[in-house]
Symmetry: C2
Subunit: 190 residues, 2 copies
DNA sequence: GGCTGCATTTGCCATTTGGCAAAAAACAAA
DNA sequence: TTTGTTTTTTGCCAAATGGCAAATGCAGCC
C-alpha cells in the first residue's frame, strides 16, 4: 500500500487525510498465475495497481495467433484505457503471467477520489501520459530493428522479465516466432 | 482557424470570449515541403495545429538509417511531448512532407490559456490521451503482421496519405525497405 | 526410477525480406 | 523538347525468418 502512495506522491501533493482516503478505496487482491484480470468482450469497470508480479495484455491477430501486446511490471497501473473511458467492451485480455498482488480501484471509487482530491485529476493525467509515452517509446523502435536487436533491447528495457516470462509470450511481443527467438538466444550466448 | 475551434469544442465547452482568446494566441504559419518544424537537439518551445498538409516525425536508428516514426495529418496537434514537457532536447525531427499550413502556439501562450480558461487543461489532456492511444493502436499491431498486411492496414488507416508521401518514408514507417514495399505493391495490384 | 505434461531447442526446407546496383519512370527546370 | 535529378521498379543473390515436426529438457507426481 505504501508503494502506491509513494508512487502517487511523485506526481503531486497529498495530505494525510487524502492519503487515508486513497487507501480506503483500494481493495487488496491476489491473482494467481494465468488468471485474467479482464477479458475481451467485457466492459472494464476497475483499475489495478500492480504491486507484485507481471501482467501481460494480449489479443488474437488476423491469423488467429495469440499476440502479447505488452507486459506490465511492478508499480504500474493496469487498465484498458479506451474501453474503460468509453464504457465499451475490451478487445484484449489482461492476464497474470506470474502470481500477482494488486490494489483494485472501482470506477466509482476513482470518481469519488477525483471529486474529493483537488490534485487527483492532475496526478492521474500525468501518470496516464507518462505510461502512454513510455509504451510508444518501447514499441515504436522495434519496427526499425531486426529481431536480434529487438531481443537485446527487450532485455535492457525489461531486465527483470526475461527469466520470468515464457518464451512464447516474449516471442509474440517481439513479433517473431518462438523458434526464431530460441535460435537468436543461442547465437547471442556464443 | 475555425477548424481548430471546432476541433477543440469536441473536447469541452468554450464561450465566445474564450474562443477569441484562443484565436488571439495562434500564429498562422506556412511551412514549405521538406522544411523542419523542429529538429533533433533543440528544445521545443512551440506546439502546432496542422490545418493542411502532412508532417512526419523521424530519427536515425542504430544503423544510421533514417526512420519515419509516424505521420501526422490534418487536424492534429504536433509536438514532441516528452521534450516539450521536460524542456529537454528532442531526439527527433518533425518535417513537412508536403507544403503545410499551421497554427502555432508558444509555450507562454499555452500557459496563459491554461491559467485563464477553466476547461483548458481538461481539453488538452483529453486530446493528448486520445492522440497517444491512437498512436499505440496504429503502431502496435504492425509487429504482429507481415509486411503485406502492414501495408494494407496503412492504406486503411491513412487513406489520404498513400499518394502524397514518398515510398521511402512509407517503407521505413512500415519497417521494411523501399524495394520490398515496391514489390509488395506490385503483387497486390495483380 | 519412470511417467506425464509442458516448454524449449533443433533440423530441414520454404518463404520472405534485405542489399546492392542497374534500369525505368516520373518530375522539374531550362 | 531536351536535360538533369529524383523516385520507383526490377533482377540477382544472400541472409533472416517462418512452418512444421521431432527431439530434448525440465518439473511435478505417482
Amino acid at each position: 500500500m505504501e508503494t502506491l502512495i509513494n508512487y502517487l506522491l511523485q506526481f503531486g501533493q497529498l495530505n494525510q487525510q487524502q492519503i487515508e482516503l486513497v487507501k480506503s478505496k483500494a481493495k487488496v487482491t491476489e491473482l494467481k498465475k494465468d488468471n485474467y484480470f479482464s477479458e475481451a468482450g467485457k466492459i472494464p469497470r476497475e483499475v489495478a495497481f500492480l504491486v507484485e508480479g507481471i501482467f501481460r495484455v494480449c489479443y488474437y491477430n488476423s491469423k488467429g495467433e495469440e499476440i502479447t501486446k505488452y507486459f506490465i511490471d511492478e508499480n504500474n497501473f493496469v487498465v484498458d484505457l479506451n474501453s474503460y473511458n468509453q464504457n465499451i467492451p475490451s478487445s484484449e485480455y489482461v492476464q497474470a503471467v506470474t502470481d500477482c498482488r494488486l490494489l483494485i480501484f472501482s470506477k466509482e471509487a476513482l470518481k469519488e477520489l477525483s471529486l474529493t482530491i483537488i490534485a487527483w485529476d492532475s496526478i492521474i493525467n500525468q501518470i496516464t501520459t507518462k505510461a502512454l509515452v513510455e509504451k510508444v517509446n518501447k514499441i515504436s523502435p522495434m519496427l526499425a530493428e531486426d529481431a536480434t536487436v529487438r531481443y537485446l533491447s527487450f532485455l535492457e528495457k525489461f531486465p527483470t522479465l526475461a527469466n520470468r516470462v515464457p518464451l512464447s509470450y516474449m516471442a509474440s511481443y517481439l513479433g517473431i516466432t518462438q523458434s526464431s527467438l530460441s535460435r537468436i538466444r543461442r547465437n547471442i550466448s556464443n
